[in-house]
Amino acid sequence: MSDITAAPAPRGIPARLLIRGAVIAAIALLALLPVLNTLPAGSALRVSDFTVAVTGKWICYGVLALAIDLAWGYAGILSLGHGAFFALGGYAMGMHLMRLIGPRGVYGHPVLPDFMVFLGYKELPWYWLGFDHFPYAILMAMLVPGALAFLLGWLSFRSRITGVYFSIITQAMTYALMLAFFRNDMGFGGNNGFTDFKELLGVPLNTQGARAGLFYAALILLAGSLILCRHITSTKLGRVLVAVRDAESRVRFLGYSVTSFKLSVFTLSAVLAGLAGALYVPLVGIINPGEFAPGNSIEAVIWVAVGGRGTLVGAILGAFSVNALKTWLTSFAPDLWLFVLGSLFVAVTLFLPRGLAGLFRGRTK
């Protein structure tokens, strides 16, 4: 108590400006990666194709972490199914990429993707129509996760299902979707999902240019999402969300409809996760029902916990650092990863309740 009430120590530069400067510097450094990738092989500063692709993937994870933090860290909505929104966005983009393969598939059918020819489809299912247009695919990558989150949130928040009960529902949702997408007759490629993509927006994938373009698109999405979330949390809307997190029924007695606030933030969060998934799929070149695995969603929540929830920047930091650890560790001891991840979560909960971001902030706000 006494150290909080004591007069604040004189500080040179406000912490907020320092953090802003660090974030801008980090984004600028990331933006350099594809440029360094074009250096001639053998140059000391050259960055490998692998590094660009992996970092691009992490940036998408960063957007997912940001989306989770907005809902969990500010409004107290712990979703253990955000991987589903990410995967749905990914599938929307995957459908577009499949349509763009056109007659270049193994079976050479002018319209139907390979797996449909193989399964004996005669024509494109109705829900595949429109996905040959890029804007439509992007729209669906936002609309489908958003609509699902809205529906699930409306049913749950209206009935005042909160806390762990809501978390379990979201977990069940992603598990149910995984089982559904594994089925061949869903028309989404069953357990193989979509792969063998050829091009996007006329640019052949798996080229340096395409990788750089996707990398920058992801980076712009990350920066834009961060600015958007930062703005939202600094308005009165953000303060109402914090109030809902800390004392939901009190907010209701103040005359706020808690349901509409939770619904807005949860839907927006799902839309961001969907967009992240849509950029992730062309970067990694594959999407399959494994992306719906409950473990993926839980892992994403751990990123946020490690980075520090309710800080936005911390969530991104968590996504990058946990995934860096994962990439490094799984290169020589893949079997150890789940144990390390579990211990990491326990350790952070016990010793670093405010996450990595808490290390940089001496005082609570």
């Binding site: 108590m1 909080i4 009430t5 939202i232 308005t235 009165k236 809307l237 303060r239 109402v240 914090v242 109030a243 997190r245 800390d246 004392a247 029924s249 009190r250 907010v251 209701r252 007695f253 103040l254 005359g255 706020y256 409809s257 509409s260 606030f261 807005s264 933030v265 609570t364 706000k365």
Partner: protein, 245 residues
């Protein structure tokens, strides 16, 4: 002139066969300050729950002006001008005193309006006036988490004032307060009543005396006695069930 009156008629609440309220009738006039006392389990908090829509009565009617409160949810009742201060102060710890009051200020309550909300000068003046009134002007920028118990109670009363309510329900405001804080609270509530109705539920009889208002005594969910503090203190039934113990 002073907003509507509150009218409870034959209200009963039954929880699993237990009668928390039993045919309770009560009238609070516009602008009146009313103290409600009674032993534990007399139904004081249940009565508050019924008025604010947290609990639905099994029988009876609750009206505020011409509005039937038994048909509304908490948010609508709050927007009607009924504010409630809980027994346990629940201010928002992560927000400052000023931000707590700002959330309580009468303004559009939907997410979109909150996103576009700009603090106008009149609103700022109003919040500052309330911080002054509740004696927390010097703490306006501090997070509520570091306020003392008494200060948290006043902040919560301040939050109710921000909503400009016509009826204020105050649940055990002075529990755990120092004598000086209790005095300050009684003066604050007397000042607030008059322009609006205030119903105070309290155990502390010295505090009730300091309020100088009409007193209602509840016992086993029903009305036992009503009148000035001296009248009820001398009522033999009240002495038997409550004061005599």
């Amino acid at each position: 002139m002073k907003g509507p009156g509150l009218y409870l008629d034959g209200v009963s609440v039954v929880f699993d066969g237990f009668r928390a309220l039993n045919n309770l009738s009560l009238i609070v006039d516009p602008g009146e300050l009313r103290a409600v006392i009674g032993p534990n389990g007399a139904g004081k908090t249940t009565m508050m729950d019924v008025i604010t829509g947290k609990t639905r009565p099994t029988a009876g009617t609750v009206t505020f002006g011409e509005h039937d409160l038994t048909r509304m949810d908490e948010a609508r009742i709050a927007n009607l001008g009924i504010g409630r201060k809980f027994q346990k102060p629940t201010v928002f710890d992560a927000l400052t005193v000023f931000e707590n009051l700002e959330l309580a200020l009468k303004a559009p309550r939907d997410p979109w309006s909150c996103l576009r909300w700009k603090l106008e000068n009149t609103a700022r003046k109003r919040i500052e006036a309330v911080t002054e009134e509740i004696g927390l002007a010097s703490r306006a920028g501090d997070p509520a988490a570091i306020l003392s118990h008494g200060q948290r109670q006043w902040l919560e009363i301040g939050m109710l004032l921000m909503q400009d309510p016509d009826l204020l329900l105050v649940d055990e405001p002075v529990a755990g307060m120092t004598d000086q804080e209790t005095e300050h609270t009684a003066a604050l509530l007397r000042r607030i009543a008059g322009t609006r109705s205030v119903v105070v539920v309290e155990h502390d009889l010295e505090f009730v005396r300091a309020l100088g208002s009409k007193v209602t005594v509840l016992h086993e969910g029903t009305l036992l006695s009503e009148g000035s503090i001296d009248t009820v203190q001398n009522d033999p039934r009240v002495i038997e069930v409550y004061l005599g113990r």
